[in-house]
Amino acid sequence: MLENALRFMTLADANVRFVLLGSLLIGATGGLLGSFAVLRRRSLVGDALAHAALPGVALAYLWTGSKALPVLLAGATVSGVLGVLLMQFIINFTRIKADAAIGIVLSVFFGIGIVLLTHIQRTGSGNQSGLDKFLFGQAASLVEDDLKVMSVLAGLIILVLVLFFKEFKALIFDPSFLQSLGYSTRWIDVLLMGLIALTVMVGLQAVGVVLIAAMLITPAVAARFWTEQLNKMVLLAAAFGGASGIVGTFVSSLAPRIPTGPVMVLVATFFFVVSALLAPKRGVLARGLRRQHNARREAQQHFLRACIELQEKLAQQRAWAMEELAIEMGHSPDKVKRIGRQLEKTGLVLRQDGRFSLTEAGLEEGLFVVKSHRLWEHYLYYRTILDADHVDRPADEVEHLLTPEIIVRLEEILARERGIDTEQIINLHGTGSQYRRGGRE
């Protein structure tokens, strides 16, 4: 195993270089085209196409007796494309839905392929070894000639992709724009499908028909977590795919029995999981942290509002016990204590003798929150969106989202349309609040 690893790392062996370059090509083209396939919602069509390629491989061999890659790939392309056409035909002309049509083409063509392969194995020259690598892939069997074929295909794919990048982009995001430019969406779609077919062919020998679809889908989905821009996503997917190819090939070279395809897929899946967890904006952790941050901020703002509202009720008092606040906020004293401590750290609240009071900054922030809450209540009520006794809850949720600009506009609207003096909306000096919720005047 160590020997294998060394041989791999030093790149001394020409064969190792071919294998590495090959898996890099496969992963990269898979990622490039996969981005378009996934965004165009054609992920599983790639799977059907790959499975449908198998009988073509076997028939090409039976017909020509040759195991040369171009011959086998030509057969694979023909039967793969036939499979996709049949699928489209089933969807268009019968009531069978797309999902079942994909399943039918995938499994039946694959069944035909298996019959042909087993037939070749049992009756032919007794040597099926050149063909069964198309099932799960064997990167180690790549030779220089194979690599030439793959490079030509990959070069062609990349060339067409660069030339038609704008059109493909429009096809995905705005087909009607594409039509207004005078392109037929149908032909651009066919061109994209053709490129996807070629991509599958590039990877067929090293990854195999069963799992090549994953090299289209998984790196692209992983890249989608990191960016909102198509060109970045495409490059990133290519990078993920290429890395999966290289790492996968390396790992499977350590234990020759393990086919390459599944290992590459597992590496790509690893990238997917890492991306889903760690990506800065769309990642699960980032979104979780954002949610937690928001929840904490909301709790803190409720605390400040409770302080202000208590102050309105009891104008003389400026500091409150945890229990008073707990009743006002409807939380447990423990939770109130925890929020109070957080606010103390940020300097919005002071704690003396177990009683909380607002600092200068705390008062300012609290007044803003209360104002947001009440203005929104008024607004909902006066726009007769909700009844007076239903406005508190929605305001509870929205008050945290209102920006100073929105507040100014709300004040304007309420002053103009309802003659409400919003300066009077909070009264800290009277005995009890002058404020009445939503017009119980």
Binding site: K97, A100, I104, I217, V221, P262, V263
Partner: protein, 427 residues
């Protein structure tokens, strides 16, 4: 004990597996969950492999537990990636099942020395070894183990589907109604998923992954081309599956190839046959219907051309055959066929190399003209300008039934049409 041949057991195994798959597959296809079935049958592989490794045997219970666990994991992951991680649903299915299948293959190949399960078995199954995989009771053989397992699974599936038939039916056709009558759709969903997992595991080692996928999806979809009634679709799906198991076995020995693969080829053949010939949905029957319709339209147009000519010249008009054929405004060969059919129906008669309407032909033609002009008048009443009413009437005239004609007659009255032409009286 009676000696039963090996082929009998192999065929029986195939029949039992395909019967279960056909039964459940119908619901998968109807519920547009074929791909989840596909994903499930790939994704249970690591469960089976892990159960093999841990238990060191092919005992059904650990395998079933392992596979059901991974079946559940697949369903949950697909949903979680889709809903919580905002991955598109099809991509989510693709990521999950390829990853799990890859994991299964790696596990199997990595520990190939320790378990007797290999890549080929995963794909093609080992149905050929069925007769030697015997279930022993003490010293007596009770017959092949797979037959017992698959028979049991089929019984369980039949029982559950019978018990929950109404719920499955409503939840498949009208999920909203299912909820409103108090059916727990989620429960039905997971019940179906559990049955599919169970069937997949039981079928997997004897018939392999491809046969399971194919037999889940293809027979159900094929039967769906033949009937609208769920009971019939289920029956047909099971029948298609089982007969392809029987025929596939013999084809495989003839071709000297994988038995499971040959069964798939047969069911694929049944699908293609249905695609072409099924009476309602079949491509050929639809083409045939379209041809009949075109012929009908062409005949109608010829009759109308003659009767309009009669009207113009106020006597029995005669046209040259090629003039008449040209008036049909359809593809030449269709017009020729329509012309021949008109003569065969004796609606036309030939005089001195010219054609004219026969008495019967005039009746039919006047009826058509009446429909045409009634519709023109009606459209004109509805506000369509009189120079625009001809085209819609030209299209609709072939489809106006006797009842509709009577209604139109009552509505419009026996007047003149918008161009001032007489509407022929009815009868």
């Amino acid at each position: 004990m009676i000696e039963i041949s090996g082929s009998f057991w192999i065929v029986l195994t195939g029949v039992l597996a395909t019967a279960s798959c056909g039964l459940l597959g119908t619901f998968l296809v109807l519920r547009k969950m074929s791909l989840l079935g596909d994903a499930l049958s790939h994704a249970v592989l690591p469960g089976i492999a892990i159960a093999f490794l841990l238990s060191g045997s092919r005992a059904i219970v650990p395998m079933f537990l392992g596979a059901t666990l991974f079946g559940l994991v697949t369903t949950l992951l697909v949903e979680a990636f889709h809903k919580k991680w905002q991955v598109q649903e099809d991509a989510s299915i693709g990521v999950v099942f390829t990853a799990l299948f890859a994991l299964g293959v790696v596990l199997i190949t990595a520990f190939a020395g320790q378990v007797d399960l290999d890549q080929e078995c995963v794909l093609y199954g080992e149905i050929a070894y069925t007769p030697w995989d015997l279930l022993l009771w003490g010293e007596y053989s009770l017959g092949p183990r797979p037959v017992w397992i698959l028979g049991g699974v089929l019984a369980v599936n039949l029982l559950l589907v019978t018990l929950f038939y109404k719920e499955l039916k409503i939840a498949s056709f009208d999920p909203a109604m299912a909820v409103s009558v108090g059916i727990n759709a989620t429960l039905i969903h997971y019940l179906l998923m559990a049955m599919v997992s169970l069937t997949t595991v039981a079928s997997f080692e004897s018939v392999g992954a491809i046969l399971v996928v194919a037999m889940l999806i293809v027979p159900g979809a094929t039967a769906y081309l033949w009937s609208d009634r769920l009971e019939v679709v289920i029956g047909l799906a099971m029948f298609f599956g089982m007969s392809s198991a029987v025929v596939g076995y013999y084809l495989a020995s003839y071709w000297d190839s994988s038995i499971a693969g040959a069964m798939v080829v047969v069911v694929g053949g049944i699908f293609i046959f249905s695609l072409l010939f099924s009476p309602n949905q079949g491509v050929l029957s639809r083409l045939w219907q379209r041809l009949q319709l075109s012929l009908q339209v062409a005949q109608d147009h010829m009759l109308l051309a003659l009767v309009r000519r009669d009207e113009e010249v106020e006597e029995r008009a005669r046209l040259r055959p090629d003039e008449l054929v040209g008036s049909a405004a359809v593809l030449g060969i269709l017009a020729q066929m329509a012309f021949r059919r008109l003569r065969w129906r004796r609606l036309l008669q030939q005089v001195d190399g010219m054609v004219e309407l026969s008495a019967a032909g005039e009746q039919v033609a006047l009826g058509l003209l009446r429909k045409h002009r009634l519709w023109e008048t009606y459209m004109n009443r509805l506000g369509l300008p009189e120079d625009h009413v001809h085209a819609p009437a030209d299209v609709i005239e072939h489809f106006i039934s006797a009842e509709l004609e009577a209604e139109l007659g009552a509505e419009v009255g026996d007047e003149r049409d918008p161009q001032g032409k007489q509407i022929p009286p009815s009868g």
